[in-house]
Symmetry: C2
Subunit: 426 residues, 2 copies
């Protein structure tokens, strides 16, 4: 294992995985704060801040940030999720110092000019509009809202046009000051870089970050319920989901195996029954999104309005029939897929940099591949069946739809398939 | 250079790039035939055949194909483009023989059962519906139609609900018999595999393929024109495009540099002017799609209806002003990005397998990275300016839009910006 970790004096953790056969290095900063850390008035500010990082610093204009990295043939980008925000670059190996300098600059000394905020607000409003025009994005946002209503975890990461319209330089600065301290950040690199060189550069570039540790997020309260939006589309998009274990839960790997069996690949139950046997869908699959102490396990599918009733009936049937019928063959196959996926993650510098950074944020250590493989191997048919029984029968389902929703089953009917009581979320 | 090529007796070319540090291998068959080879009655059959390859063979049912690969932790998929169809897998290194056996089985002995065709027809109709609900997909399909009306190159790869509804087992068999001969195929692998082992396995698995060489496609005739579709969306999507060099043209790399300068990254002209300075778009960029003897150079953007007029004015201004103002700095930066991209392509087994297969199909050889880098380095400011002048002023533009099209500029106005005469495509 070539992973090394060093903690700087200010608490910033530096982690690297050297891949000496590569020409390039992927590196970035992962911050332990995202949309989940927002108050209601701050809805969308984590993502807005991520955008503003690229709009100029004390030392660089926006165009200089882009030109310096791209002139070296590299690229730089960022992404905001519920529990973290990542700023990352991929550059040729000799350009790691340049990438670190730019990353520290945009994280340490961003300027939040009023004029630039106004411009970027318009860009983000266009991003929100694009998301509303994407039925898959929309149906997932509706599902997330039903799962965690009136909580940051239930709100769209982008914010709304209304919420982002209210942000001032102070709103953005306040969120940043509260959540962007060195102990809450990981500098991660994978590829053509030595750990010693990375640490030397990191001390120079990131040593001035505040050492104060910031706050965390509120505990979630899963609710369940239904939310549907009528749209004139060729297909109706559906999400049916349930409360699932978080990534700190012992059952985490069991939930991943269950997801793989139900809808993880071409050999999965849903692909075979819904697509191969019935021809109901092109897109069909399951997902298991994990947060710290909670998660969302579900299925997503899209079909024509006249086939929606059959689709929902088949989906609920596959899910309710799952717990009692998990086979050894399926469990072994799902485990093989997950273990091969672990090896594949070692072959991409960008995937690996992201993986070790998120493990440090979540578990305060990098989990060896062999240890994960052992945990995956410990998941047997019985455990998967027991988890399915628990997931599908003890929480209110989430049911969201976008499209011709007048042809979609009622929430009462859907919930009744799982023994749930009725509940409607506005 | 660790690329090796062997031609089997039947004409099948076997190419590999061994990457001994990897645990996995990406491998597949790339066929020199795609949607461009279809007659009007066959519209969509290349893609339909690609789907049917997974629906059962003489030796395996559909579920067996999926289970054999996925039980080994691998995955298998396929994709159809205008000029080629690719069937590829990624597996652990010891499973290359299994992957080759499955690939040869689905390519050599697919069964086109009537029942399975009926089911898969429904899946493809859902895929077409999904594409019609995706405004970016739709606006590109409209642009492609305007560029090459009444030609296979101008028709959507998926086909239409009408065209795929007419396919029988005979339609699919006829297309396959005509275009899937060994001399028109490349078996490509990159990753943890030796060339000698690959060739041995390939002789076993693919030796029985027909050695007859099949036909090619008709020459294209670029036309230009406009096609717009009204949709109730938050954003209006726009493509503005021009005839560009094909990949066999000496100006190919010059066209890629031009695309990079105009809209290739955060430092590009369009990103800076349209997004950073004006906040008009979230998605903005250029593309240069190349076919054998022709190509399409264009820009794509999406914005709110009320901003569409400003967007189109800015886009045409940036494009018309381009030829006279290309700088050395921009050219050097674009070249650096392209050369770094070449090195990055060497670090992914799946990207590399695809790259060397497509080079063999297009150029009948694998082009050394150094040779491409030299060609990129030979592109100077003068060449880019001259190409821009030629591309933007000698062909009728293509202009397509999806959304609130009543607020979009007329084709006459757009074409007049480039000195083109008017032409409307139905």
């Amino acid at each position: 294992m070539t992973v090394e970790i060093t903690t700087l004096e200010n608490g910033l953790r530096v982690v690297s995985h050297e891949m000496p056969h590569l020409h390039t290095v992927s590196l970035g900063v992962w911050v332990n704060a995202g949309a989940r850390n927002e108050t209601l008035k701050e809805h969308g500010v984590a993502h807005f801040l991520e955008h503003m990082a690229f709009k100029g610093t004390k030392r660089r204009t926006a165009i200089q940030i882009a030109e310096e990295i791209e002139s070296a043939g590299g690229d730089i980008n960022a992404s905001t999720s519920m529990e973290s925000t990542a700023y990352f670059a991929r550059v040729l190996k000799d350009d790691a110092p340049l990438a670190l300098d730019v990353l520290s600059d945009i994280l340490l000394e961003p300027r939040f000019d009023q004029v630039e905020i106004e411009r970027e607000r318009q860009v983000i409003i266009q991003e929100i509009n694009a998301s509303m025009d994407d039925p898959a994005d929309l149906v997932f946002d509706l599902a997330q809202h039903c799962a965690y209503p009136d909580q940051a975890l239930g709100r769209p990461i982008l914010g709304t046009i209304g919420s982002v319209s209210g942000f001032s330089p102070e709103t953005i600065t306040a969120y940043r000051d509260q959540h962007y301290a060195a102990p809450d950040m990981v500098l991660s690199a994978a590829g053509a870089i030595s750990h010693d060189a990375l640490v030397r550069e990191a001390e120079e570039a990131f040593g001035r970050f505040s050492a104060r540790r910031s706050g965390s997020w509120e505990a979630s309260e899963y609710c369940g319920g239904s939310s549907c939006e009528k749209k004139p589309l060729e297909q109706t998009h559906i999400v049916l989901a349930f409360k699932a274990p978080g990534y700190t839960d012992d059952a985490f790997y069991t939930s991943q195996v269950l997801s793989s069996i139900l809808g993880g690949g071409m050999s999965s139950r849903l692909f075979q029954e819904v697509r191969e046997k019935r021809g109901l869908c092109y897109s069909i699959g399951s997902f298991c999104t994990s947060f710290e102490e909670t998660g969302l396990f579900g299925v997503y599918a899209a079909t024509s309005p006249e086939l929606t009733e059959e689709l929902v009936t088949v989906l609920t049937g596959e899910i309710t029939g799952c717990a009692a019928t998990i086979s050894d063959d399926e469990t072994v196959r799902a485990r093989a897929q997950m273990k091969a996926g672990l090896l594949m993650s070692l072959e991409s510098s960008s995937v690996r940099a992201d993986q070790i950074a998120r493990q440090l944020l979540a578990f305060k250590r990098v989990v060896p591949i062999d240890e994960i493989a052992d945990k995956v191997d410990a998941v047997d048919r019985g455990a998967v069946g027991a988890l399915a029984d628990s997931v599908f029968n003890t929480s209110q389902p989430v049911f969201s739809a976008v499209g011709a929703i007048d042809r979609v089953a009622s929430y009462d009917w859907v919930a009744a398939q799982f023994g749930g009581t009725k509940q409607q979320v506005e």
